[in-house]
Symmetry: C2
Subunit: 198 residues, 2 copies
């Protein structure tokens, strides 16, 4: 054995991270042990705290250290405008990019029956309950336009129908600053179909 | 604030890993919290243990949980054949690829005065002491053929000269600019067999 068991365990454990294969894991392990033990210890501590203390907001399902997250408990947020996002990263991107002052529902995934992800796993019952409460006037679907995303968006819009809520979704087309030649044909086709008067 | 402080701290802490930028860090954090809390907790624990318990072997400088590593304390290893490698990943690659039954010296870097890495940082004093002890008959330099690697190899061969030790290096089967740890074992084996006088 040329590597100590503990080092092998560390390299193996680092691979729980998506995008980290055996080679990256070795590189990370050697770097942390050789150059950055202080930060490695900090990472270990924060990771433990996060796993132990971060739960989900009872209302919107976003990660939260408290039963109700900071957005859901903020009285200045509009209660009649709800944005449905797939995950906390999208929520952060939305909240950072636009002056959205409504609230959120975080799906934490997309409908994918083959992977065992059904309406229950995405908190659809909780979302339906919020619609039933009657405060929401508009629901914006900020869901990536993949096949599973389309199915998820369709499911939600059908669910919202009986409640007379206005359901909208993010516009699709050419991204700002995007080079036309580097866009995929799906995006170009969609942008052409949805072309507007100049 | 759309993300909890603890989650932000976790994303920031994950970035201590080389090759992990802000986007990967978010993806990793969400993945671990949403799908793999058990493994995340395991990683935190192993990382803490590794930082606290993994030191360096007194003799070869490789990572070790004990004062003397498993290779240096193995009596079946030849004491007259020493392989000098840059890091533990290269040591593991060498030991895995070829039937090398000697011992190692792990530099943990290359000579790079601009980065403040001099002979002392690479344990050259320890290496010189081992040469002085007189047991070593041959020293194989398994150092990547970069500019800094060449300088390092030259330094070591000069240092070994007074002791009458045979200094060899891996054959020119190693591609220029290639990192040893990314080579296939066949190439490494061949390079070892064809090692030449320095």
């Amino acid at each position: 054995m040329s590597i100590t068991p503990l080092l092998e365990q560390l390299i193996e454990a680092l691979r729980c991270q998506p995008g980290v294969g055996p080679r990256s894991a070795s590189r990370i392990a050697f770097h942390l042990l050789e150059r950055d033990r202080h930060k490695a210890l900090h990472l270990a501590e924060i990771l433990r705290q996060a796993v132990e203390r971060l739960g989900h907001c009872e209302q919107c399902r976003n990660f939260s250290e408290t039963p109700l997250c900071s957005i859901c408990s903020d009285p200045r947020r509009q209660s009649d405008l709800l944005c449905v996002v797939e995950n906390p990263a999208q929520l952060a991107a939305m909240d950072h990019a636009i002056h959205f002052r409504g609230r959120y529902h975080v799906l934490m995934g997309r409908l994918s029956p083959l992977d065992g992800i059904g309406p229950e796993e995405l908190g659809m019952d909780r979302l339906e309950q919020r619609l039933r409460e009657g405060e929401i006037k508009e629901m914006v679907l900020a869901i990536s336009p993949s096949v599973e995303g389309e199915v998820t968006a369709h499911y939600i819009s059908e669910m919202a129908h009986p409640f007379g809520v206005r359901v909208t979704r993010l516009a699709q087309g050419v991204p700002m600053g995007g080079e036309l030649e580097s866009l995929d044909s799906g995006t170009l086709t969609r942008a052409f179909e949805l072309r507007r008067e100049y």
